[in-house]
Amino acid sequence: MNTIDMILLTAMTLAALWAVMGRSLLKATIGLAVTSAILSVIIFRLGSPLAAVFELSVCTGLITVVFVSTISLTKPLTHKDIVELSKKRTRRFIYLPIILIIVTFLLIRAGIPKNLAMSMGETVKNVPEVLWNMRQLDMFGQVILIIAGALGVVVLFTEGKNGAK
């Protein structure tokens, strides 16, 4: 780990903070996309290129598109509403940076643990080998999840005979 990794991790945390505290939902979505993109770079630098590609294409791309589509399908607020909501939001979220600073202070104060057992057993380098030979149940679960998600969306958007939802 070097300075670049620390800069990336700090930038990711700041982008996450922006996503949480951003005034409009669209800016929050962009903040989430930036968080995801920086996380992809970190994942790539940590020697996991396949997961980095998935994170970049799916989380940064697809999920942002889904969010923006959802936002565009809901009614935009008026300027007056946005100003009013912003005041309330600022009041609610004002404590978050303070909490994060306190957590950071506590983590620095706690220091690096001296005794921590970590398993460093045998290493399998090939991701497809792990996925198809060791984690077949995960693949089965993924297929079921995708079908369940697709069916869930179909059910949510199904309209009755008289247009009732």
Partner: protein, 107 residues
């Protein structure tokens, strides 16, 4: 700064994971917007992803953690897509994405 010890690396990545978790949990607790709650859940998932990858790097088992992260990403997408559908349905019903109005849903 050059950290090489596994414990030091785990400490640094663990610290940033905790910061992301704190931001996500705080947002989840105080927000009233349905979509912002989904964004908070996304942040929590990202924290877990970061920690998995870091642990894979530290323990020298990147293949196993990559396989798990791919599964997490699939789950994440399904959660977001279904949550998006629910958000639109809620908006059509209540004309608002306020989560305090969700108890008006029937069923």
């Amino acid at each position: 700064m050059a950290l090489s010890s596994p414990i030091e690396l785990l400490y640094v990545f663990g610290s940033f994971t905790i910061l992301l978790l704190a931001a996500g949990f705080y947002c989840l607790v105080v927000t009233r917007s349905f979509l912002r709650a989904v964004i908070a859940i996304e942040l929590l998932i990202k924290a877990v992803t970061l920690f998995f990858i870091a642990v894979g790097y530290i323990t020298g088992k990147p293949a196993l953690t990559q396989a798990l992260v791919i599964t997490i990403i699939v789950v994440e997408v399904v959660v977001v897509v279904v949550a998006g559908g629910i958000a639109i349905s809620v908006f059509r019903k209540n004309d608002s994405l306020d989560i305090t109005l969700l108890n008006k849903l029937k069923g």
